[in-house]
Symmetry: C2
Amino acid sequence: MTPVPVPATVRDLASHRSIPKGESIFRVGAHAGHVFFLQRGRVVLHRFGPAGEEVVIHIADAGEFFAEASLHADRYHCTAVALRDSEVAAISSIDLGARIQSDPRFAMQWLESLSAQLRKVRARVERLSIRGTAERVRHLLLTEGSGKVPTYTLQGTARELAGQLGLTHEALYRALAAMQKDGTIGRTGKEIVLLR
Amino acid sequence: MTPVPVPATVRDLASHRSIPKGESIFRVGAHAGHVFFLQRGRVVLHRFGPAGEEVVIHIADAGEFFAEASLHADRYHCTAVALRDSEVAAISSIDLGARIQSDPRFAMQWLESLSAQLRKVRARVERLSIRGTAERVRHLLLTEGSGKVPTYTLQGTARELAGQLGLTHEALYRALAAMQKDGTIGRTGKEIVLLR
DNA sequence: CGGCGTTTTGAGAGAGCTCAACATCGGTGG
DNA sequence: CCACCGATGTTGAGCTCTCTCAAAACGCCG
């Protein structure tokens, strides 16, 4: 997989890091010095419960920012570990904060990026609340698809999509097969089209 | 229910509106003139699919901002309808934008509020991805609970919580009963405590 | 007191998970 | 070039958990 490029607005603030699978990017309690942009791989953010058990807060996929709160806290509230070999862009929170304060245009852009993420995640919450595999797929196509006839292009594997939809891969495959058979969707390679 | 007060930072920009159940607050395509803070009630944001069917993007509950993207778009991309009698604070997006641009301290606060929401929603996504009613409740207590011994205080009814957890109220009641019986949790009134 | 919404428990049905087997595809090394 | 390997894709069968429908107890407010 080719790495997602760092957004142009922060590119000059970013320094590149490669993280082997299993290694941590930061640990809870450490100085919150950076905001991160995940260019490739997958990262889990988790905390530990009273009995030391892992509690997953978020799983970041390629193309996402994470630990944005480093701007406002001085210590990380969770631990970040690479679930695969990953590449991240580390953005100094001091530099980022300084630019936000000094460049209102940039502040607006950063705000817009956060808003967009928020909208996306909220839609995902709604999707996960829907009962029925087919209905979830339909919601995905309607909210994330583009074009007159809603078209969604698979970014990764269907297995990954299943995870995003809160389904097992088997359930997703069956739903897609059924929807294709009854003419709800069409598929050509990585593209899924909502027909009715 | 007593209305949630408007956050102090934007109070002077806000004008109050009461929305009867079933009425819309804004419609898709209309000029995106305001960001909203929901003080009381519940609001659904939805779009319409090709066949005119409703697609829910988000359901906002009391205490939440919604339509933050009005800052960056000139038209609403969805329609907002009150699911109950609601009270909202409408914040002019022009005024808000102006303050963000002119007051860096304020910009930081607004950013922090967005970050906090993002973190919360992401945790909720993770929660909804968990299989098993009891495990979901446990995740809620561990992520949203406070204190040494994780304690969560019900804000509304248990029914509402069930909705938030993506469960039927029956499933939630049964899970709570079972967890109480086997000593996983303790309950006193609106408080739920994770014991082990 | 009467009515409404919440809480609680029961029983049955169905959707999706689990386990399993096999096909397919892309890459790797002999 | 082909054999092999791991990961993805696909389908089957059984089982479990949650949803659905139902009913009753409870608490609150007019």
